[in-house]
Amino acid sequence: MDRIDIFPTREIGGFPVRAGTPLPFGASLVPGGVNFSIFSSAATSCDLVLFRKREREPFAILPFPEDFRIGDVFSMVVFGLEEEELEYGYRMDGPWDPEHGHRFDKGKILMDPYARAIGGRDVWGEDPDWSDPYPHRARIVPDDFDWQGDRPLRLPTEDLLVYEMHVRGFTRHESSGVKYPGTFAGMREKIPHLKELGVNCVELMPIHEYDEFENSRISEATGERLLNYWGYSNVGFFAPKAGLAASGRYSMQVDELKTLVRNLHQEGIEVILDVVFNHTAEGDHRGPYISYRGLDNKTYYMLTPDGWYYNFSGCGNTLNCNNPVVRGMILDCLRYWASEYHIDGFRFDLASILGRAQNGAPMAAPPLLESLAFDPILSRCKLIAEAWDAGGLYQVGSFPSWGRWAEWNGKYRDDMRDFLRGEAKAAGGAIQRIMGSPDLYAHKGQGTSSSVNFLTCHDGFCLMDLVSYNGKHNEANGENNNDGSNDNASWNCGWEGPSTDPWVNALRLRQIKNAWTLLMVSQGIPMVLMGDEMGNTQQGNNNCYCQDSPISWLDWTDLERNGEIHRFAKGSVAFRMAHPVLRNSGHFQHRDYVGSGIPDISWHGTKAWNASWSDTLTLAFMLCGKHAKGGSVQDDTLYCAINMHWEMHGFELPDPPPGTRWHVAINTAMGSGQDVWESGAEPPLGDAREILVADRSIMVLVAR
């Protein structure tokens, strides 16, 4: 039987309407019409503004009658709309009183914060109409995708291997050879590459609607147009970026992205989204009105006592994350992505901001983080914090987690980069990082999967550049090389930039193999950067945020040029995946608790059972296979000798378990074909009691 309330009760401006329902927020399809619902705590009145798609002038402006307002929510059902051809916005009237936080302007047309598709930037880089009174336009989408039985994969967190990537940069370069370059559809064509590499999770840099033209300018250095390529500046939290979809011009980005997720899941690959809830694209008081500022400035933004914008994000404003209304929006948003897009997890950009109170002070138990940690719909989602912000809060190891949050482990990057380039003082830190950073997490009762281990990410040098440049080279960004971090812990191996010296290039190749190996033998969640598996370079640029150019785009000819890197990357990934002893969820206990005769982990040096804990460049450790995953599964015993010294060293070997012999799985000093061995094909070592580990190289042995 049909509902009895699917008929209009009155007309406004010639349109049949009735009072709507406040929940859900946003625009929802109901029988015969669309339910519009929008919140503002301080608006005195509200108009619904309706456009035909891409038309500059609205075809209707419908004021909400006072009796269509419940609490602070305006809601109305409008009947007989062509929802596929519709764009809608709001106009809010209210006080202009910046000192008290109010910046209402009835002249502005405002986007719905709950808009699930947004028009206006339908095709990437296509010049917008700058005079458009409503540049980012809310649209309506049906939520009836056919998932064909798909659901989030729920891979154990400690088994993840994350590939951080930019959807556009992945296939935009002509060498990608895909039919729809730089899009979700293009990425779908390249899933076999991810599968071949062996990663089981992609972390997508922002794919929510952002404005690539924000702060667009021409680089004085190169004459090239600079865009907001990365997208860490949100226009709408609920909408996928149309410009990243080949079908964006047909407004079908939702279907295109969902199909990508479904196809990735079919190949056993999880999808984590990089979410940017710390600020919006509206900037500070000089910025544009897109949505939040004109709807309810005081609610959505953290303001100083005299009404200015706090800037803990470094981007002009700070989302007021622990205001209960904003908290609700963030929760609604993540639930929507988890349920409607089957997203497996989220990485929160500058997540420490999410733990700040409305006055900016850090909180011990932030309600937002607690809500996310215990949410029934997000309960199987991975939650990963970038545990710092631009306001000086640094919380690696201390992010309020309730046992649910993992962290981008910045200390892993810093310590391991130093160790990799031969700084003996980093050895103590490296030991902790290899074990999953128990110094940061064990005392809080958090396991190794709290640590996302990475040497490179989108922010900073890529791996090839880490071993090719001592300093950043960001001239192309047009800021006189003043942007980007100066602290890179990199080493150019003797020559700045590309080199024709075979010795330099051989050393770089070895350092890249060392980096892959260190990541793959460390406890915790390894994360690699798109392109590092094929020696991609960003020409020394460590801050490519504005480079929608070959500097950022993945050059697929690297696969051939750097075939040795690609083969090694695949081999080292396969090695990790073959050995559960590298993927424990609990920390080591440094004792034998299964009766194997050796502890779960033992540290060694150039002498067996004789480790130096600091100021050394020669470290070795043995992992007992019988202790794999807390003794719940059986694995081979592994031994790893790390020589970051510039001279060769002999490493005395501990005895392998009775009845087994050591075999060589990885030797980073060797060339392709002998550097990493497939499981089962590892050559035996013979009866040697000592191995010689070449300068700046790593050997990994397996006992069988």
Partner: protein, 105 residues
Amino acid sequence: MSDFIATFENGVVKIILEGKLDALAAPKLADHLKTLVGQGVSKVVFFAEKLTFISSAGLRVIVFAKQKMGADVSVFLIKPPQEVVDVVNMTGFEGFLQIQETFEA
């Protein structure tokens, strides 16, 4: 979209599409297909040479044909214009239908 032309014979539904298959046109087509559920449909053939555009709602009718018309129904799209093929491919709906130049019963 002007009215579509539909026939049903020997388990084969043939539909000639013209103009835009969008949110305005799709419900009517879906309603028609619903009347054939349980009638032993084995193939649904959309003749698309004169189709100019297919929207999200239009694609959903095709999914409906594939999933709800009966077990093992094959869906064909005959001679669609390139723009329609692109939309189908970009959004990943190609798995639901077979795109062909002609249809021989």
